[in-house]
Symmetry: C2
Subunit: 255 residues, 2 copies
């Protein structure tokens, strides 16, 4: 078994309105990559958000009283907090410099995934610009998948990832925020182990495992490569969505 | 950038007392793998535990009153609960079928990582055998690393992984339980992004990202391959340990 994660190099900076599928296909072709049935393209959230124009200038944001309250607790810019709250279903934990929320999309993350770094460029040179997550990352993944499948005439998966902090452990890891054409979870219940025992660990967050591995090669700093081509994903492609990976609140002992 | 994760195939079943370094080196050589400076060997916890004889027959375990109490809450075998408690610093959450603890090693996991599947073999055919985690996985990793480095004459990393459930998200992912000769966390604070901004996400759980990717190719069921050879880990090797990845309790909002 062999899994190869390859960055697509020499991609242009992404601008609002860009056709990401086309840009990725171009990059793959320049690099001599011919996708096969079962390959997966992994995309950093940031380029999807940029292509979709999810930039907001905080100069135009007026914080509510609730935002001001959380800004005081966290020490964050009230306008930034306002944007976080607008993107969220609920506030999960707060502390100085920490604002952990349940995003409208269902997952728990710091600052609703709103990002300040790598944002400006053609859209302004000051630090008031921030970048929201894609409005519907599963849909974004599906659109890119449709483009790539039509281009390359084979079934592909598309995975959109972000870096999240975690309970209990230090540091961030890449996790899924949207996907198309591939499983989020793989259910091995009923499968036997090599001695014929029923397995105890039976639901594997396969998309998140791929997200973490791909995040490793993307890098987080100036070497960042926002698209990774994955060959050897070991599970069959199928329809899938983010929701498979979200633990329902009533089954979650840690909110 | 390219990360390749390759299973070492045709490894024998591991028995207590086996020299894992030697077995892995043999497997690599049979597969024509010549390691280079910077390569990492990723090992499933289970084979390390087996080689170290961490098998326990529950027939010999007498549960305390505390174990009986948690057994009642969780519906688990009181002898199994007793072993979990002996391996743990504290109980974090309980529910029916759920016993989440802080392991003596510092991480949070279900059942202190004690495993029932894939355990028997030469040691008994009934289901009373369970497998504890290695006593000191960093030390286990270091011993295997020393063997491999002497054999292959180049610096290598060794990572021991297990599959853990998570707060907030469904399914298990591979995570680090021990390591040697490689970073657990990579600190990018002070690094600039591609526009010269200071990064917000700056501490990357690099070992856990590799653990998740390697777990994906190991598989969880009958196709399980407990050793993965990783080429292309993007950070420089150095001394490292599990503790880098453990969030101290006083900094953890989710216990």
């Amino acid at each position: 078994m062999n899994l190869t994660l390859t960055t697509i190099d020499n991609l242009p900076l992404i601008n609002p309105g860009d056709n990401l599928g086309e840009i990725i296909a171009d990059g793959m072709q320049k690099q001599g990559i011919s996708p096969q049935d079962g390959d997966v393209l992994v995309l950093a959230q940031k380029i999807v958000s940029k292509a979709e124009g999810r930039l907001v200038n905080m100069t135009n944001v007026t914080p509510t009283d609730e935002a001001k309250k959380y800004a005081e607790i966290t020490g964050k810019d009230p306008r930034f907090v306002e944007l976080v709250l607008r993107e969220s279903q609920s506030v999960v934990r707060t502390a100085f410099n920490t604002l952990i929320v349940e995003h409208k999309l269902g997952f728990i993350s710091a600052n609703a995934g709103i990002d300040h770094s790598n944002v400006h460029g053609d859209w302004g040179k000051d630090s008031d610009w921030v970048l929201l997550l894609p409005e519907n990352p599963d849909r974004s993944a599906e659109q890119i998948r449709e483009y790539l499948q039509e281009k390359f005439h084979c079934p592909l998966g598309v995975l959109i990832i972000d870096s999240h902090g975690r309970a209990w452990r230090n540091g961030t890891v890449g996790v899924t925020i949207g996907l198309a054409g591939m499983p989020g979870m793989v259910d091995l219940r009923g499968t036997s182990d090599i001695f014929g025992f029923h397995l105890k660990i039976t639901q594997v967050a396969a998309a998140d495992e791929l997200a973490a591995g791909a995040s490793l090669v993307m890098g987080q700093a100036s070497e960042k490569k926002p698209v990774v081509f994955a060959r050897g994903f070991p599970y069959a492609l199928r329809e899938g969505n983010l929701q498979e990976l979200i633990r329902p609140k009533e089954q979650d002992l840690f909110r």
